[in-house]
Amino acid sequence: MADTVKMATREAYGKALVELGEKNDKVVVLDADLAAATKTGMFKKAFPDRFIDTGIAESNMMCVAAGLSTTGHIVFASSFAMFAAGRAFEQVRNSIGYPHLNVKIGATHAGISVGEDGASHQCCEDIALMRSIPGMTIINPADDVESRAAVMAAAEMDGPVYLRFGRLAVERFNDPDNYEFKIGKAVKLCDGTDVTICATGLMVKEALAAKEILASEGISASVLNFHTIKPIDEEAIVEAAKSTGAIVTAEEHNIIGGFGSAVTEVVCKTVPVPVIRVGVEDKFGKSGPAVEMLHIYGLDAANIVAKAKAAISLKK
């Protein structure tokens, strides 16, 4: 690959919205006074007539988005994950999820990597909340290439989608010219025989680093990128369980109810093998530089390596 590109997935989201706005005049973007941070400000600049700022009122925004979608618009409603999935949970559940409306929720600043703002803004519960809503699609892209693809795919499908983006700039690892994205289909990044690392979001890069460390110690790991958390790619999980007999999941989210839980649910009912989850261990976050916080909370390659070895040792 050419020079390394580093970009926050929220930045890629903003760019993708502009691209989408150029192609389709039915696309409308809503924000609740965070356009500069969520990067919907790019869309605001390009299409001021199709950008709606509802002010600091996320509950109202989600329902306005619902109403707008019934008039034939493709609506992206944005805020921080904490407020989009947290504060407005019931609005998303009752006014978007239950009627299955065509609203795309662009939730940025998800997870611990929000950094200095601290626990009040570090949402590690959003995947659990959104997973529990019937018919909700959840996409958690790992880099800018995948973020763009996710936005385009979400706009193409009819129905509610929760798109999860981060604040921290992350390294690109997908090839922008050849990347194929399909909602609900995990991407195999490398094949191994001893353990499979199932990762999502910024933990995919850590999984790839963990794979290298494991290889240097003679352990062969598969790495799967689950950009879609719901619907979860059951086939890929079953295949991983069968072929490697041990799984580690990695996510920037509470280990309760999130991606790791989704994988575990599939493994338990199909091919029961050891699964160890890497994630925030049922704790609130803290203030500090994003990368440092990721290490403090065990969201890094080193912890994945440790958990991979533990999972392998549990194999019968």
Partner: protein, 280 residues
């Protein structure tokens, strides 16, 4: 308003009240009190005000209605049935497992229902979104929404009120069904939202106050609202909870209770007598 038209509306409203009682009685649950207080306005909307087509419920240029006080679904269903969206006979299936008439309105199950509601405070925001969508699309449809006076205790109502005025959504007309009662008692005692007109005025709305059971006043109010430009309109409709069934009127216990057989028969005999008088 024209005497013949008014008489026809009164007959429709009385038939809708019969439909409400039929539904709630057969379901053995539901919300008759608030359904009876807002049904005159619902009747007026669907039979005299809104541009809708029962043969084409999804017609994109239709006027929209959002029952923000979603628990009053029996009233909406009764009026939709009378309008021809589905058979009146089906009102008896309310809240039953195979029915398309859910306890609270669902746009995915019921023809003519424009939005799923039930969780208070959300419908008015959705109505704002529909009104905004109309403006963005350059369409001239109007959006109507009925809220309860208890419902306006929800903070989201005031987020929506601020928003609708800030965006000049003059294609939106809300109605607050001011019947004065909520589950736990008198609204004034539980958590007073009064004075309601002044609050909406302060939020930048065109405010109209009427009696919710006078078709002359309802007619004048919706005409004024339709002509008013630059601001959303709200009709503060002073109503009687349980209106039309003597023993339900102004009784908080009828907020969410179904009549037993004896009460059902009394309610039906009262309503049928009213109907006979109107049709005489």
């Amino acid at each position: 308003m024209d005497a013949v038209v008014k008489k026809q509306l009164k007959i429709k409203a009385c038939n809708a009240r019969i439909g409400i009682i039929e539904g709630v009685y057969n379901a053995k649950s539901g919300h008759p009190g608030g359904s009876l207080s807002c049904v005159d306005i619902l009747t007026y909307l669907y039979f005299h005000q809104m541009n809708v087509d029962p043969k084409n419920p999804q017609w994109e240029d239709r006027d929209r209605f959002v029952l923000s006080k979603g628990h009053c679904a029996p009233a909406l269903y009764a009026v939709l049935a009378l309008k021809g969206f589905f058979p009146v006979e089906d009102l008896k299936t309310l809240r039953k497992p195979d029915s398309y008439l859910q306890g609270h309105p669902s746009m995915r199950y019921t023809p003519g229902v424009d939005m799923s509601t039930g969780s208070l405070g959300q419908g008015i925001s959705v109505a704002c979104g529909m009104a905004l969508g109309g403006k963005l699309s350059g369409k001239s449809f109007r959006v109507y929404s009925i809220l309860g006076d208890g419902e306006i205790q929800e903070g989201q109502v005031w987020e929506a009120a601020m928003y609708a005025a800030a965006k000049g959504l003059d294609n939106l007309c809300a109605v607050v069904d001011l019947n004065g009662l909520q589950i736990d008692g008198k609204i004034a005692d539980v958590n007073s939202p009064y004075p309601v007109p002044e609050k909406f005025k302060a939020f930048g709305w065109n405010v109209i106050e009427i009696c919710a059971h006078s078709f002359d006043e309802i007619d004048a109010a919706f005409k004024q609202a339709s002509e008013f430009k630059g601001k959303p309109s709200v009709i503060i409709a002073n109503s009687v909870k349980g209106k039309g069934v003597s023993f339900m009127e102004n009784e908080v216990s009828w907020h969410g209770a179904a009549p037993n057989t004896e009460q059902y028969e009394q309610a039906m005999s009262e309503l049928k007598a009213q109907l006979a008088e109107l049709e005489a």
